[in-house]
């Protein structure tokens, strides 16, 4: 099977090569048959990669320990569930997995738009195949997952040998979330290739109008949704597995996933300026180029050991390939831009400080500043070595100092932006839209202060969260009131109908609501507490409202590891509440340990108990207990974001009607007056 997979992979490379070369020839000659064959080659890549992945999975399930990759990341006792995640546990497999997800996107794009947009699609096809070609080059010639263990036998003939068992999967990955987190994040990273290919293709083809934006909106949202989920799941994994009580440490790898998310979010917002007002064309094109480049940079950072971090030991020579590819992409983008920049001339200018446009502008600016701050902080060791000659790293205080105010500004714009009118907003409509939410926000702030909240940023976050939530609620209420009057339905069904008639707008509001929930959860971190102590059986610990008693400890061998477990009885208000079982697992196959954190999670707070190891002096078990307020809101907020994205992705029903109730609010009043035609056309298209 390893030969089979290896050949499938090689054939995929050949097909991608043909899709690039044949595609370029097709663009030059305009021959329909050539266009078709290049497209088919692009689609065949996907099928072949699936054959390759299938055979690698087969190697894992049949315990073929002559394949080096299987030896490195699996063993006989590894549960089947984790044999699948072992596929992306190492360099070679994860790169193959990258190619796989990319090929799924490419296949879907080529299939969806076959025979449509004949001026644009050949360009898009070539760009997509070009990106695939790069990754398939790595899969085939640099990090091939099908390498076998062997020695040179007599006469120089290769003799394959098979190991009795593999090294096993690293314990940190033997956790259910690690099976779904990577595919999500990868689907995010690779998904941004689609808007990139369309933007570059449209620029190269001088494709008229804003059509490429309409075409890519859904693809971008899908990628964005996966990226959001991937980041949050990664944070949750770090929280639940690494056992240090936090979910985000500004590690280069975390930052790598955040950066394209920031520019991707900026792009999702600023394309609306281009759709409705024909502005920011240059900006949008570069935003999507940068998002793609940051995705590639992210892969470079995680694999090359370029930036020393917690992951300081991951060194690999693959970095130079990525640097070369980054340089090539930059050159191609720059050349396309210089050649065709007149195509990106703006049709309008900014009219007023208080308008939808300016709120988008500031939103973009702030997201970009956040991205630059994260990027420079991540690359600080590299940059400082160039400038000063000494490697300097910066820690969380650097990132937090910049990104906390940035986040709060963004939260403010989340509330304000959607209710501002295009072009300019009158003072009257400002009062009508914002007076109550703003007053309620201030009241919440005063109440919080009265209750003893003294942390400045948390207090601001509280006020803004109330403000934004109320502006969103107000929008739903106003729309539903009109809908109710017209259809004689009750409130819930009026709200549902309203949302289904303009999914893009109301889906957006739901996403914003999810983001508010995430912010509420993040603000809780200012009130975290933790305690650490050596404990013996019967000893107790108090934290917040909780009283913990160590009842007993046990140790038992499992199939793949030996576990050492503590049993805590948790009491609250003098009453027994539940038992918690923090655990340490020892994996004999690679002589490593893993921590299983025990968490009691409520909307108010998480009680987080870690068995941290044994004290070097007394050999007593050390327990580290954290009380983290509001953390659950982060994960719930993530779910709401996903639901909102799904809503925004569903086609709107009877779109023309939506403009009617919206004239109630100032936001669309302006839009309806100034650009009615554009709004209604795009509603039908989207």
């Amino acid at each position: 099977m390893d030969l089979f997979g290896s050949f499938a992979l090689l054939l995929a490379f050949v097909c991608a090569l043909y899709a690039v070369a044949g595609g370029i020839a097709a663009i030059l000659t305009r021959k329909a048959l050539l266009i078709k064959s290049a497209r088919h080659a692009g689609m065949a890549v996907c099928v072949l990669i699936f054959v390759a992945v299938g055979s690698l999975v087969y190697e894992f399930f049949t315990d073929n320990f002559s394949v080096a990759y299987v030896v490195a990341h699996s063993n006989r006792d590894l549960p089947a569930f984790y044999k699948i995640s072992a596929l992306w546990a190492g360099q070679e497999g994860s790169l193959l997995f990258w190619s796989t997800l990319l090929s799924v996107y490419v296949f879907s794009v080529l299939l969806t738009y076959r025979g449509k947009h004949p001026e644009l699609m050949p360009y898009v096809g070539v760009i997509l195949a070009g990106v695939q070609l790069f990754f398939l080059t790595l899969n085939n010639f640099v990090a091939n997952p099908f390498r076998v263990l062997g020695t040179a036998g007599p006469g120089g003939i290769l003799q394959v040998f098979t190991r009795a068992d593999g090294n096993g999967l690293t314990p940190l990955l033997q956790y259910p979330e690690m099976v779904i987190h990577p595919p999500n994040l990868y689907a995010g990273y690779t998904g941004f290739t689609i808007p990139f290919a369309f933007a570059l293709g449209a620029l190269l083809a001088r494709y008229p109008g804003e059509k490429w934006i309409h075409l890519t909106r859904k693809w971008t949202m899908v990628a964005w949704c996966f990226q959001t989920l991937g980041i949050l799941m990664g944070a949750h994994w770090a929280y639940a597995v690494l056992g240090w009580g936090g979910y985000w440490s500004w590690d280069p790898v975390e930052n790598a996933s955040l950066m394209p998310w920031l520019t991707g979010t900026a792009f999702l917002h600023s394309v609306m300026m281009q759709e409705k007002r024909g502005m920011m064309k240059v900006w949008n094109v570069w935003l999507v180029f940068c998002t793609f480049l940051l995705c590639i940079l992210g892969t470079l950072l995680t694999r090359s050991g370029l930036v020393s971090s917690v992951h300081a030991f991951a060194q690999s020579s693959i970095g130079s390939w990525f640097v070369g590819f980054l340089a090539l992409v930059v050159v191609v983008c720059l050349a396309a831009f210089l050649k065709n920049h007149d195509y990106l001339r703006s049709e309008n200018r900014l009219d007023s400080m208080i308008s939808r446009e300016s709120s988008f502008l500031f939103n973009n600016l702030i997201l970009l500043v956040a991205c630059i701050a994260v990027l420079s902080g991540t690359l600080f060791p590299v940059l400082s070595e160039w400038v000063e000659g000494s490697k300097i790293s910066v820690g969380p205080p650097f990132f937090n100092k910049v990104n906390v105010p940035v986040g709060l500004l963004l939260l403010f714009l989340t509330g304000v932006g959607p209710l501002l009118a295009w072009r300019r907003t009158s003072l009257d409509s400002l009062k009508r839209n914002f007076a109550w939410p703003a007053l309620a926000g201030l009241a919440a702030g005063a109440l919080g202060y009265g209750l003893g909240f003294r942390d400045f940023f948390s207090l601001v976050c509280l006020m803004l969260s109330v403000f934004v939530t109320l502006t969103i609620a107000e929008e739903f209420y106003r729309g539903a009131r009109v809908m109710r009057a017209r259809t004689n339905s009750n409130w819930p069904s009026a709200m549902i109908q309203l949302s289904l008639r303009n999914t893009r707008r109301y889906g957006g509001y739901v996403v914003h609501l999810g983001i508010v929930m995430v912010f509420i959860g993040l603000a809780g971190a200012a009130f975290n507490q933790d305690k650490q102590a050596e404990m013996s059986i019967g000893s107790t610990m108090d934290i917040g409202r909780y009283h913990l008693v160590l009842q007993t400890m046990d140790s038992q061998p499992e199939r793949n590891y030996t576990s050492e477990r503590m049993m805590f009885e948790v009491m609250r208000g003098g009453r027994p509440l539940l038992m918690l079982y923090p655990e340490r697992r020892f994996f004999p196959s690679n002589e490593q340990s893993g921590t299983m954190v025990a968490i009691y999670s409520t909307l108010r707070e998480d009680l987080y108990v870690v068995y941290a190891g044994r004290s070097p002096e007394t050999n007593l078990p050390v327990v580290h207990v954290f009380l983290n307020p509001l953390v659950k809101w982060i994960w719930l907020g993530g779910l709401v974001v996903v639901l909102g994205t799904f809503l925004a992705l569903t086609p709107s029903r009877q779109p023309a009607l939506v403009l009617q109730p919206a004239t109630q609010s100032a936001a669309t009043k302006g839009a309806a007056q100034t650009v009615p035609a554009a709004v209604s056309t795009y509603e039908r298209e989207s």
């Binding site: 990341h73 997995f97 910066v394 937090n400 100092k401």
Partner: protein, 145 residues
């Protein structure tokens, strides 16, 4: 005031204040990477920097003393005595001949006082950039978190 100018001023104010915050944050948290050999060449204020140093734990050097763990870190033929004073238990991967990364400051007597120790077993498995955007973090003992 012209509209473009107003925008310019608004953007400028935001950028300058965030830049200032970034500078404050960088000053507060910057940590210098040094090799053990480089430590001998440092002078004056450089010796008081917060530093991060990597090396291999000398076999048999780990000693548990009340309130701290002492060990010797080696690299490029030089040795450095380290005292770990953090509160978290040391990672399980911290053993003789493992690779370790220590973070802290130099004491006046030349001993390195570490608040954080990260370790990775040198031999057993490849430095798995495990996966997906998130390589495996070696277990951390981190007194600041």
């Amino acid at each position: 005031m012209g509209k473009q100018l107003k925008f310019g001023v608004g953007i400028g104010v935001i950028l300058v204040s965030l830049g200032w915050l970034a500078w404050l944050g960088a000053r507060e948290s910057k940590t210098y990477y040094h090799t053990i050999a480089e430590l001998g060449t440092l002078h004056g204020p450089d010796l008081r920097q917060r530093m991060r140093i990597g090396g291999t734990v000398r076999a048999g050097s780990i000693q548990k003393v009340a309130g701290r763990v002492d060990f010797v870190l080696g690299g490029e033929g030089k040795w450095l005595a380290v005292s770990y004073v953090g509160t978290d238990p040391l990672p399980d991967t911290f053993v003789d001949n493992s690779q370790a990364l220590v973070e802290g400051r130099l004491a006046p007597d030349g001993r390195f006082v570490a608040e954080k120790v990260q370790a990775k077993c040198a031999s057993k498995y490849e430095a798995a950039p495990s996966g997906p955007g998130r390589p495996v973090a070696p277990a951390r003992a981190d007194s600041s978190t």
